[in-house]
């Protein structure tokens, strides 16, 4: 078949359309987050002192960290899978969450006695954190990777890894509703490790599944 013949075939296929990719990705995020929320409601519970906790800066930091990571990694995932769209501001924006965390850690070191640091770091729930964040992230990650197959990522592994950060951010934000450990030390160690685990799985699956 010559190239002109191929053009005939492609023109004949024009009526079969796919929704705009950015819309597909948004839907996948919402759908995945809803499933994660359902898993959370069924399997994990809100912390009993939530109403009081939400008024403390340490807990604000947890949500600010999760939400800023969520927004930046969502924008970045979309751009990484749309050929020719510049990464621009969103690559830098991804640094917002770790930067915020670093400031939180510095403040915690400033404000609390050194003797309490070990306890704050280890917390009460480290093992649950490492277990539940990846568990809550599974559905959003699957939905996002599935949606990314409609995209055209130049670097499939990287797109998968950033989708993993996004799924991890969704899970971490939900898990923060439960988790009684509020120290930035805990956040920097366990939340971050859990999110890195999710991101690494995204990389692994993405580099195999997202070639086009």
């Amino acid at each position: 078949m010559k190239t002109d013949d191929l053009v005939n075939v492609l023109v004949a296929d024009l009526p079969i359309t796919t929704p705009r990719f950015s819309r597909t990705l948004t839907r996948a995020l919402i759908f995945g987050a809803l499933i994660a929320a359902l898993v959370f409601v069924l399997g994990v519970h809100m912390r009993p002192d939530f109403a009081a906790a939400i008024e403390t800066p340490r807990v604000w930091l947890k949500f600010a960290f999760g939400l800023s990571l969520l927004i930046a990694s969502f924008k970045l995932t979309q751009r990484l899978a749309s050929p020719g769209e510049p990464i621009g501001f969103w690559g830098m924006a991804l640094l917002g969450a770790p930067l915020m965390l670093a400031l939180g850690v510095a403040a915690e070191m400033w404000l609390t006695p050194e003797s309490s640091w070990k306890m704050r770091l280890i917390g009460a729930n480290a093992r649950f954190c490492l277990l539940f964040i990846p568990m809550l992230a599974t559905a959003p990650l699957a939905c996002l990777l599935f949606a990314l197959r409609q995209g055209a990522p130049t670097n499939p592994g990287l797109a998968g890894a950033v989708a993993g950060l996004l799924a991890g951010a969704v899970a971490a934000t939900l898990y923060a509703l439960h988790c009684p450990d509020d120290s930035p030390f805990f956040l920097a160690t366990w939340y971050s490790s859990a999110i890195v685990i999710v991101s690494a799985s995204g990389y692994g699956v993405g580099s195999r599944m997202l070639r086009w």
Binding site: M1, K2, T3, D4, D5, L6, V7, N8, V9, L10, V11, A12, D13, L14, P15, I16, T17, T18, P19, R20, F21, S22, T24, A81, S82, P83, G84, E85, Q150, G151, A152, T154, R211, W212
Partner: protein
Amino acid sequence: MRLGDAEEEWAELMRAAIGGNASAYRSLLQTLTPVLRGVARRNCARIGLDGSEAEDVVQEVLIALHLKRHTWDPDRPIGPWIMTITRNKLIDARRKRGRSTHVPIEEMNEVLSVDGSGDSVARFDINRMLERLGERQRDLLRSLSIEGCSVQETAQRLNMSEGAVRVALHRAIKGLASLYRESPQ
């Protein structure tokens, strides 16, 4: 023609195509083919692939532009979108030959003036790809491409409904894309 003008014309045609205008789509693909061929020939020569391999790249790029057209945002310039997809396919072609993955690609505006006319037959020509598709898909693609029949005529000839022809056609194109992706060239 300057790149900016050409790009604006392609974007206009693609917007019309996304709205369902088949003749705009045909003229977009026909306009792009020689440009892509110029880019592919020039870059293939640089990375040590021959001219027939360049035609494979052109066909792969056309299929990718088609299957991924929903990743173009109609508010953005279309040139970077086309070039990124082309670059990706050139990198794949090079990777299949076991070369390093860095492909320096010339800017499209340098290439607009290059002669990309003539329809050299692809080396890995789709006829051989077609052999690897199912019989039904093969008949379908032959009918629509080489014999130039419409979807309606093809549906009658193959005794299928038009809807079934459209679904099978779309699958066949996706099948071609994955054959290209997996074939060691």
